[in-house]
Symmetry: C2
Subunit: 201 residues, 2 copies
């Protein structure tokens, strides 16, 4: 069953769908969601002592809870809330890492409506504090992932708020963003780009 | 209604109880939970451009969701999960900040059962990555809050796992920890201790 947020966005469970892996062993396009791929990458980084980066839990507004005797509390009524920050953060080489990941079926541009105001505000605050902040953008059709530094996203967002263009052309992303290498493990090796950008490697 | 985790620990809502504030205007002991005080402090840091530090949402395992027409999705069955990390993290002066906050009614020692294995493992991984990692410990009776660096917590935890003492004596915490200043705003000014420890201020 597909679970959806109030805004219609799909809620993706973090459980890896093993069946899909078996069906399509080609790791460049395995039918995995972007979230699954990133979680796998973060687990790889964690277990190999490379970085400690986690996805934050989905925020939920709890309204009613049952306390059956001798068993776990059951939440009987709750609602999805919008995350007030980005979804992923953690530490890499002492530096604070913070990012959001989005995907689109569009072929020629990335729609900015994938982001919301709170996330952009949060990213601006993080950049001011000297944190490493970026977005991972996947074009599902070509199965390409780009890392775009938050500072390059802001002008496009601000412009779109003022009634300007509501998306970033893919050609621009190819210029100001970085192609993220796709491997078997880690699937989305975004820290390679961070090494290049912040550690001269 | 008091909401509880499966392990019996109270689930504390982040809503500030205004009525309690009114009843007891003495800000050194206002009946606020530690979580409420820390959230207020983090909001103070955020709105004043000092730091970007958030509490992670309570993790919930969602089992069943209803999709009524024309209204928000309703979670009908879900369970509390244990956080696999600490509750708080963020960025301060470019540095990664990560901590857990606990309180006790004990007067002479802090019970280690307040922590769980996953949290300690997470803190050890963060320290290895060069993150700033600590715990905030409140003795509710005396309303004192101490900042104890994670590296000082680990030996006591490891000892307790091996069958040793299950708590840290308050006298020890007073020696190896730091008294956190309590103000009206921010209530628990833990970054003052971080300034002293990491930025020579």
């Amino acid at each position: 069953m597909m679970i959806r947020y109030p805004n219609g966005q799909a809620y993706v469970q973090t459980t890896t769908k093993l069946s899909q892996k078996t069906i399509n062993p080609n790791y460049s396009n395995r039918g995995m969601t972007l979230e699954e791929d990133i979680n796998e990458s973060n687990l790889y980084y964690l277990t190999n002592g490379i970085a400690v980066i986690h996805k934050k839990p989905t925020p939920v507004q709890i309204v009613s809870v049952d306390y059956p005797k001798r068993s776990a509390a059951v939440i009987k009524e709750a609602y999805f809330k919008q995350q007030s920050t980005t979804d992923y953060n953690g530490v890499y080489r002492g530096k604070y890492i913070d990012f959001e990941a989005k995907e689109t079926k569009n072929k020629t541009s990335f729609p900015l409506q994938n982001f919301h105001e709170h996330q952009i505000e949060h990213m601006k605050a993080v950049v001011k504090q000297g944190g490493i902040c970026f977005v991972l953008l996947r074009f599902t059709n070509s199965d390409e992932v780009f890392l775009l530094e938050a500072k390059h996203l802001f002008p496009y967002w601000d412009e779109s708020i003022k009634g300007g263009r509501k998306s970033i052309p893919k050609k621009i992303i190819e210029t100001i963003g970085y192609h993220v290498p796709i491997h078997l493990h880690p699937r989305i090796d975004y820290l390679k780009v961070i090494d290049h950008l912040y550690f001269n490697q």
